[in-house]
Symmetry: C2
Subunit: 398 residues, 2 copies
């Protein structure tokens, strides 16, 4: 009936259509990164005319650099070597330990992602290529063959901020088909982040799927808000269009986000089957999100039985107009007198907020407020925040 | 009480923390692409040591190239010029017309995305930078200030494929708070695609939000399946890890996806408030998804009142073992005797499947089967598929 369109069939089955029209520009047909069986990794870039190609990544020894904050450890870089086919290569001298790693190439001065690797994450305005070395805690970041929760991007009304706002919500496996009520973890991002930060950089759905499957965490709903009080949604997802993400963007640490947080809890509790009591609610966040968690949880002392401060930006904000930041000690006393089940403070030893967190802990000690403290190596980085979530979630709702 | 951590506050509010630790490598602080008021566009890349920087994009005149399919129009490229600060620049000589455009740079032979632009889309294994010139049909691709639907990534059981599979589902604004039942559009991707293709490359949620807000399309649920019968989920979203996406990947055009499509409809109709009758169901797809739509709709002739073939890969597959592909004419007769409300065929004039679609139309004409035909310029490209969705959705469920 049809002419046998053999040419087309071959065309379709050999990937040539990609070359031709569908994907206008094909990826490079070299493998990068190549993770060897012994967990050494080879990076490759096809750049025959380039004079110099460098690799920067969080698996390369850091170098000391002068910054406004003093001398700091900055990401190191290495040079790749060009082979006779014009492909630049670098292999790590040692196997890498389990982790989710980020890297970029610099080609004759242009800092770019790896065109051989489609897996990337955006942190503020920086996009980096990523890969995972499995094993240990890094297995929590992988999609494993376990039941998977649902991730929804929704919009809700915030009368307090006078905005319709985007929110990312994880519901655990079985939520849709079951009838029970679930506890809720409110998971807040840092400055420069948005409602995409935890789900992408934080691997939240993978961590929760895996912890729940292992019986280590209770099935819970995880609510990832946008903590920038002036922003509808993540850059590119709002009516302002494809704006360039910026570090403080529409962030206003003026108390509005904290006070209006009941817009979020009201939305969640009227749209999902939740446990509507203090023992069914947790709040935590990283950096600015830790600051938000501190202030929201004491602003609403009957709301959260579990509070987590991850590398929290504990900075005085008493000059802000909002009353949220007034009388910190008095409000903490009210909160702690109500005996929250867990107040958890986590920070890395080289975090620039280390001292601020130690000062806060000293205050809690002086006042006899009970908390748990978790200290790690490293600084103000996502590597730590994924670990903190992996440690915090199993302690909740038990 | 606290020492005033002024340094930290400044640090946090000037974006230096990004430089220091949070975002390990900052983006370039140059603007690219810069869309001028008259819709000319300037592209910039900081690459002081580079010898040559080129820009390829679907807004640059094509060039003729020899391919296995004969001489074809391939994307053109232009050279950027280096200014005295080491920044390479190119400005389009003419304003660009409304469209979502894709582009890449080539830096001394390395094809890369624009490091100044965080907005990218993946097509099979190719990642390109994108931007939108608004106006006309391209305004449908923007996030506008209109009510937004919800986009959920869920997992469902497919007994027919013996897999737990990932699926992307758009529910229209008001779905969660309402009580009514909604019609469903099943929207299928092409070879090399997956359940992320339509939502990312196809701008489905933006198109539907906008068409619904304008009163041009009925509120509907849109279900974006993974049409690769051997695949759990999109690359990077399945337990196989961060594999390199490939054109045919786990695609098997062996009839299994078509026959097991009731796993999808059963899941959707038992988990969502749907109109469970022929007049409440539509199916369409691009390329391989058009092939799937053709075969599924005639395999289940009582199921879909609306069928759309977008640049459909209408290729004979009579040697496949499945009975799905047998007796095309007889099955089409059964389907058309039941008078579907719309059978819509769209193709571009330079699509390599143009002839195959004309042959199919000739067959429909010979048999007296009623269809609508929509012909556009251009070939086998997402630009056309976004337009086809924008044209098809308003004709549904009326």
């Amino acid at each position: 009936m049809f002419k046998k369109l053999i040419t087309l069939a071959i065309f379709l089955t050999t990937g040539m259509a990609t070359f031709a029209q569908q994907a206008l520009w094909g990826g490079q047909n070299i493998v990068s990164p190549e993770i060897k069986e012994n967990n050494t990794v080879t990076f490759r870039l096809n750049a025959p005319q380039a004079l110099k190609v460098e690799l920067a990544g969080d698996f390369i020894p850091t170098k000391k650099m002068e910054t406004p904050m003093g001398v700091m450890d900055m990401p190191g870089s290495v040079e790749l070597t060009k082979n006779d086919k014009g492909v630049w290569e670098y292999t790590t001298p040692e196997p890498l330990s389990p982790e989710l790693y980020s890297y970029t190439f610099t080609v004759d001065g242009a800092k770019v992602t790896d065109p051989g690797n489609v897996y990337m994450i955006r942190d503020v305005a920086s996009v980096t290529s990523i890969f995972i070395i499995g094993g240990g805690h890094a297995d929590l970041y992988k999609v494993n063959n376990v039941p998977h929760g649902t991730v929804a991007r929704r919009w809700y009304e915030s009368p307090g901020l006078k905005l319709t706002r985007r929110i990312t919500i994880y519901t655990p496996p079985g939520y849709e088909t079951g009838k029970e009520n679930y506890p809720v973890l409110y998971l807040l991002h840092g400055a420069g982040g948005d409602e995409e930060a935890w789900i992408a950089l934080g691997r939240t759905s993978q961590i929760l799927d895996n912890l729940i499957a292992q019986g280590k965490a209770k099935p819970m709903i995880v609510v990832m808000t946008n903590g920038n009080a002036g922003q509808e949604a993540a850059p590119g997802e709002a009516s302002e269009g494809f704006i360039r993400p910026s570090f403080m963007g529409a962030t206003r640490m003026d108390g509005d986000f904290e006070v209006s947080f009941t817009d979020v809890t009201n939305f969640v509790e009227s749209n999902y089957r939740t446990i509507k009591q203090k023992s069914g609610r947790a709040i935590c966040g990283l950096s600015m999100g830790g600051f938000h968690s501190l202030h929201i949880s004491k602003q609403y002392p009957d709301m959260f039985d579990y509070v987590g401060l991850f590398s929290a930006a504990i900075i005085p904000n008493e000059n802000a107009k909002s009353s949220v930041y007034e009388d910190l000690e008095g409000k903490l006393k009210v909160q702690f007198d109500k005996k929250p089940k867990l107040y958890w403070i986590a920070i890395g030893k080289t975090d620039f907020l280390y001292k601020a967190n130690q000062d806060f802990i000293k205050l809690l000690d002086e006042k006899g407020h009970k908390y748990l403290y978790y200290e790690t190596d490293g600084g103000h980085i996502w590597r730590n925040w994924r670990i903190y979530l992996s440690e915090f979630a199993p302690m909740l709702f038990k």
